[in-house]
Subunit: 194 residues, 2 copies
């Protein structure tokens, strides 16, 4: 029985790239442009799948954490961009929730709508707003199984006081998915035993 | 912007306890007894919520990894017992999926049915079987929001070649939830902003 501690293998370029974009990003458009660029850089550097996400202070647009898909690199099927960004933000703020009376509100911006797992993780994260680029159907066209979310997943988040906005810069977000697909990027669904 | 690497803070007792139970556990009953005891030990040691999970080689019952809920301790809302066990197993086997032609089949045994996030994570994990103790409704009675899974979540897993068995040693699993509840254990749902 192993009890070794798994860790996320963050690629070195991520820190440099994020540091170069550390000004406040005030609009949804700017924040989405940033996470789509994270997704593109992740492909260019060969460090993972075509997905980027970031946590921002909702009001000021201050960047708290940036994540990219690290599933293959980290040998961890949980390491989707959203999960990485949320885990880094919580670690940085020393809190298991981003919703605390003494915190400002935080939001998650992600280049594609969350899969079944990330949808659940968003419920527990404490963010107050979710902004998405590509639709689930766009991601599925690339060959990724997104799992089955409840049909009314947006309403389920809103019921829990999480605002949801989707389709922001969708064409740009889809163009990164297409680059990945056109270059035969690895589609790392869990089940090879079919 | 922070790019620090979050990590799971595995409690020292977990390694010792697991090492003492490293023989093969052949039946569902034995495997469930083990994960329920993990949940109980997690409460007794004050290291987290009343949940335990483990990955086993399905045929031989060899223990691959053991996980407990580490949300508060690790400042990470993803750190549910199932997520911890799956991440350790994948890290140990150096594979982002537990489903590979050169691997035996693996299963996840968990003291309570998975929440919305863990249900999604199970899809990506590569396990071929899921065995659960307490029902979602039992966990919700303790005050935990389990999120909204698709109504037919078991069928969604089975569609992806993951067998599901639930209600194994349910009374024992519920007794650990009750101990936690009776002792006013922290209910760490994500949203405090209601």
């Amino acid at each position: 029985m192993q009890n070794c501690n798994p860790e996320l293998l963050l690629p070195p370029w991520l820190k440099t790239f994020s540091a170069g974009n550390c000004g406040s990003l005030l609009s949804d458009d700017e924040r989405m442009r940033f996470v789509i660029e994270l997704a593109r850089q992740n492909i260019l550097h060969g460090t993972g799948g075509p997905f980027g996400a970031a946590v921002f202070e909702r009001l000021t647009g201050r960047l708290i954490s940036a994540g990219v898909n690290l599933v293959v690199r980290s040998n961890c099927s949980h390491a989707h961009a959203e999960m990485v960004a949320l885990a880094i933000a919580q670690h940085h703020l020393s809190s298991y929730t981003l919703s605390r009376p003494d915190f400002p509100e935080y939001e998650l911006v992600t280049s594609s709508e969350p899969c079944a797992m990330c949808y659940g993780a968003i419920i527990w994260s404490g963010i107050s707003r979710l902004v998405c680029g590509a639709y689930t159907s766009d991601t599925e066209k690339t060959g990724f199984d997104e799992g089955a979310k409840p049909e009314n997943w947006i309403a389920e988040l809103e019921k829990r006081k999480i605002e949801v906005l989707t389709g922001i810069r969708r064409i740009d977000a889809c163009s990164v998915l297409k680059v990945y697909s056109d270059n035969d990027g690895l589609v790392y669904n869990g089940q090879s035993r079919q």
